[in-house]
Every structure is written in structure tokens, then in C-alpha cells.
């Protein structure tokens, strides 16, 4: 008996050692992430609590609460993020529904139209919208020749342009998880609903739609979080009129070389992201997010 137990213990130790060695294989990756990402971000966290005189202070955070311009930046950031997410749902859900009902071959072709912009560089797409929406751009030219409006309208370097660009960039993040949620629905449910006397509208809203909400929620969350920290598109298409948190962080460093203020904003942005993810993780499996993303 004693010998068996000794052997068991030995085997267990061996197994643990093996697992530890295997875990060690991830050490290069862990080390890289620690040195390039975690430690510097930790340092930013520390800097955000240092005042202008070099001592511990909350002045970087205090300024955020007191100053009107910061309140405005946060308001704009949330506004843009909510509007983008809302528009993505309104536009993306019907498209996902349409594609999910097609025969496989057709669906694959249509999915390429969703994936193509997904692969294309973000900067290229932002640039494309800048060219299309400018005063002498294609959209204004066509709208005027079609008689939709008479004078060229300012479509870019403002909120409109920012939203158009951001919705275009975020749509795949919403469509893909919604689409896979729709594909997973057993069509027999819809037949059962019809059999029980529900008209198509009622069957859709009481059976189909609720089954797609996990995918919709995962997609919307992904879009919202990406929007909160977005920089390139609002910086180019907003033309200085749409200032979001990330842009303020950059200008704090580039123009004012104020690491304390920039870090404090960064910490707030990061904490917001983590809190939203944490709340969301209580309602849905976060692995859905990583599957939905690229």
C-alpha cells in the first residue's frame, strides 16, 4: 500500500514538473508582453498620480472633473461610440439576416463583401472616405448632378464624416458574430412557431430575435469598446472638430508633453474598458468575442 502511494506521489510530481515545463514554453511571449506592454502601462498608471511638483497628487484626475473641456471630450467619446454602435446594429442586423437566409454559395459571396473591408487597411478605408466625402468629392458631385442638393455640403471634417467612416470600419465586427448566431438557429423552431399559429412577424420577434441576442450583444460590445479607444478615423475624418479621449491623449503628449495628464486619461480609458468587459463577462462568454473578432 505504502509503495503504491509513494509511486502515485512520484508520478504526480513528475506530471506537475512536466506541466510546469510546458507552461514555460509560453515564457518568451509572456516576457515580451510584460516588457513592451504591461510594465510601461503600469508606469503610466504611476505617472498619472504624480503632480507637477513631482509628488503624489490627484491633480491630473481633479482636472478631468473640474475642466469643462474634459467633460466635453468624454461626452463626445460616448456620443460617437453609442451612435456608431447603434448605427452598426441598425445596418448590420438586417444584412446579417439577409445573408443567413441565402443558400450557401450565395452566402459565401455576400460574406466576402463583409470580409473585404475587414482585410483592407484601416488607413486606406479612412482615406477613401476622405476622398469621397470632400467638398469636390464624388458624393457631392453625384448628389448635385442628381439634384439632391444644390451646393456642396460639408460631409467630412465633422461628426457626420466621423460617423460614416467609423460605422464602415466597425460593421464587420458586428455582422460576423450576429451572422454566426443566426446560422446556429435550428430552422425547426420557426416552423414550430408557424405551426402554433404565429404570423411571420411574431415568430421573428418572439423566437428568432431572442436567439440572436447573445451574438448581437457580443458584436455590439466589441464595437463599443473599439470605438471608445479609437484614434485614426476620428482624427482624420473629424478634422479637429470631434475630439475623442484617445486624441486628447496624443495631443497631450505631442503638443504639451504632459505625461501626467495623458496618463490619467489613459488610465480612465483603460479602466472604463475593463469595467465594461467585466460587466459584460457576467452576462456572456467572453470567448465569443475572440471568435467574433479577427
Amino acid at each position: 500500500m505504502q509503495a503504491v502511494r509513494l509511486n502515485e506521489n512520484g508520478l504526480r510530481t513528475d506530471q506537475r514538473l512536466e506541466w510546469l515545463k510546458l507552461f514555460g514554453l509560453s515564457s518568451p511571449a509572456i516576457l515580451l508582453i510584460l516588457i513592451i506592454l504591461i510594465i510601461p502601462v503600469g508606469w503610466l498608471f504611476y505617472v498619472s498620480f504624480i503632480g507637477a511638483d513631482g509628488n503624489f497628487s490627484l491633480e491630473n484626475y481633479g482636472r478631468m472633473i473640474k475642466s469643462k473641456s474634459y467633460a466635453r471630450i468624454f461626452r463626445v467619446t460616448f456620443e460617437v461610440s453609442f451612435l456608431t454602435t447603434g448605427l452598426c446594429i441598425l445596418i448590420g442586423y438586417p444584412l446579417a439576416y439577409f445573408i443567413s437566409g441565402l443558400p450557401n454559395r450565395m452566402a459565401n459571396i455576400c460574406l466576402i463583401t463583409v470580409l473585404l473591408p475587414f482585410w483592407t487597411s484601416l488607413l486606406v478605408r479612412t482615406y477613401a472616405w476622405l476622398v469621397l466625402l470632400q467638398k469636390r468629392g464624388l458624393i457631392n458631385d453625384w448628389a448635385i448632378s442628381l439634384g439632391l442638393w444644390e451646393e456642396p455640403i460639408k460631409l467630412v471634417h465633422n461628426l457626420t464624416g466621423t460617423l460614416i467612416g467609423m460605422v464602415h470600419i466597425m460593421l464587420p465586427f458586428l455582422i460576423l458574430p450576429v451572422y454566426s448566431a443566426m446560422k446556429a438557429i435550428d430552422q425547426d423552431y420557426m416552423k414550430a412557431a408557424a405551426n402554433l399559429g404565429a404570423d411571420p412577424k411574431r415568430a421573428f420577434w418572439t423566437v428568432f430575435f431572442p436567439l440572436t441576442t447573445p451574438g448581437l450583444f457580443a458584436g455590439a460590445l466589441m464595437v463599443f469598446i473599439l470605438c471608445l479607444g479609437f484614434f485614426v478615423t476620428p482624427a482624420v475624418l473629424g478634422g479637429g472638430k470631434v475630439i475623442m479621449v484617445s486624441m486628447k491623449i496624443v495631443s497631450n503628449i505631442e503638443l504639451f508633453v504632459n505625461w501626467g495628464a495623458a496618463s490619467a486619461l489613459g488610465v480612465v480609458l483603460l479602466v472604463l474598458t475593463i469595467v465594461i468587459l467585466w460587466i459584460a463577462s457576467r452576462f456572456l462568454n467572453l470567448e465569443q468575442l475572440t471568435n467574433g473578432g479577427r
Binding site: L25, A29, R125
Partner: protein, 275 residues
């Protein structure tokens, strides 16, 4: 034709005619999704400063501008080298990590996995200023090493996720069989496991390349001097004015991405037959 309108769209659904609005909207959305990036291609061949479509006078003026500029050429070179090195570094490091985390059962695995995907969750502006600070201390600001290291960190989550999910659907007992026949673990991995997850490995390598090639915000801070990336220069040019040269660069970037994705597709189709 009329019959189609009256036919039910699905067994329980309303007819195609009643759903026509959905079809029309969907087609419009799909056109809007694809055209903005594609329309840049013909526009880049316009002779006009305002990039007409369709171009009244066709010319390769903006391409000559691009290929003739030593600045743009330097940036292009930097971007390609950085993307290639990122792929070469991130793929093995990420695959090793994915394999280790998949096989190991100790307590820290879950925490390590969360750590692996943090680069995807942290807003890129924060990654950028953090790396900027670290690079000043490490004296690798504006160097190729710096760009490659930062882009590798950004690419790691993708490699770990893609390879990890391939490992999840792979039957590990095959490796146990190889080992019970006397192969050391590394040999069992290289000769039995790796060939079967190679599609995921190649895909993650291509994604790593793309991550680096397309990355803007971090490159804006840590690349520059003798090593500016293409995206960094493009972004700076966009902030000033609409330089039509960027249309030609965009066209080239679209071609590079599409080529990579087609490669990934072609490779994916070949995964079935195992020698």
C-alpha cells in the same frame, strides 16, 4: 418573375415580394461596404489633383510621384521589413505559447491566457505611449528592433487564438502515441502535431504580417527617423492635406492585403490531403 415575388421566402416566412425591402437594403449596404476601398483604385490613375471618378485624363502621375520619392520608398522598405520580421518572430513565439498553454494544466494557465490577449484589449493609444516611454529608456526608439518588438506584441493574441483553437480541435492522443513509440516531445510536436495544424500556423503568420503592415497608432509614436513606417507617413500626410499620392499607395496596399488573403485561402484548400 411574378411567381418568384409570390413564392414564400422560407417555409414559414412571408413571400419574396413582401421582403423586397430587405433585399434592396442589403444590396445597398453591401455595395457601400465594398466600393469605398475599391473606388480608390481607378481614382489613383486620375490626372487631376482632386482624383475624379471616372478620371477624365488617365495618368500614372501619382505612381511616379510615389516611386520617385526616396521618403516614400524608405517608408515602404521599413514597413515590409518590419512586417516580415514580425511574422518571423510572432509566429514561433505565439505557437509555442499556444502549445504550452494548451497542454499544461497548472493553475496559471487561465491567467496567462488573459495576459496573452491583453494587447488586443488595451486601447492602442495606451500601448503606443507606453511603448514610447519604454523605448526611450531602452534606447530603441525609432529603430527597426523597436517597431518589430511592438508589432510582435500586437500580433501575439491573434497567433495564440488562431493556433490555440486549431489545437483544441486536434486530437492530442496522436502525440502521445508518437511519444510512447519513443519520440521525444519536441520531435513528436514537429513531426506529428505541427503538420496537422500548419494551416492555422500559416494563417496566424499572415495575420501577424498584416497586423504589422496595417498598424498606425503605435508606429506613429515609435517609428520615425531612419525607420518610418508607411502607415506613419501616410497618416502624417493625411493630417496636412489630401495628397493624391496616397491614392496610389492605398492601391498598392489593397493589392498586398488581397494577395495575402488569397494565399491564405489557397493554402487552406490544400490542408485536406495529408501525406
Amino acid at each position: 418573375m411574378l411567381g418568384w415575388f409570390r413564392a414564400p421566402a422560407t417555409e414559414t416566412q412571408i413571400t419574396h415580394g413582401q421582403r423586397l425591402w430587405l433585399y434592396v437594403i442589403s444590396v445597398i449596404i453591401m455595395v457601400l461596404l465594398v466600393t469605398p476601398s475599391l473606388i480608390v483604385i481607378p481614382m489613383s490613375f486620375s490626372d487631376s489633383q482632386y482624383l475624379e471618378f471616372p478620371p477624365e485624363v488617365w495618368s500614372t502621375r501619382w505612381y511616379k510621384n510615389y516611386f520617385g520619392s526616396s521618403e516614400w520608398m524608405l517608408a515602404t522598405r521599413t514597413s515590409f521589413i518590419a512586417a516580415f520580421c514580425t511574422m518571423i518572430l510572432a509566429t514561433p513565439v505565439g505557437v509555442l505559447a499556444a502549445y504550452g498553454l494548451h497542454c499544461s494544466k497548472i493553475r496559471f494557465v487561465r491567467a496567462a491566457f488573459v495576459l496573452m490577449i491583453t494587447p488586443m484589449m488595451v486601447p492602442s493609444v495606451l500601448v503606443a505611449i507606453g511603448a514610447f516611454y519604454a523605448y526611450v529608456k531602452l534606447k530603441i526608439l525609432y529603430t527597426m528592433t523597436g517597431v518589430v518588438l511592438a508589432h510582435t506584441v500586437l500580433a501575439l493574441p491573434l497567433v495564440v487564438i488562431v493556433t490555440g483553437s486549431a489545437l483544441k480541435s486536434y486530437d492530442m492522443t496522436q502525440e502521445d502515441a508518437a511519444r510512447s513509440l519513443g519520440a521525444p516531445r519536441w520531435k513528436a510536436f514537429l513531426t506529428v502535431t505541427l503538420p496537422q495544424i500548419r494551416f492555422a500556423v500559416v494563417t496566424s503568420g499572415l495575420l501577424a504580417f498584416l497586423t504589422s503592415f496595417d498598424e498606425v497608432v503605435v508606429a506613429m509614436f515609435i517609428s520615425g527617423g531612419e525607420n518610418p513606417t508607411l502607415t506613419r507617413n501616410m497618416f502624417n500626410a493625411l493630417r496636412d492635406q489630401i495628397d493624391p499620392t496616397i491614392a496610389s499607395i492605398s492601391t498598392i496596399m489593397i493589392l498586398v492585403t488581397t494577395l495575402l488573403m488569397v494565399l491564405a485561402q489557397v493554402f487552406g484548400q490544400q490542408k485536406k490531403p495529408l501525406k
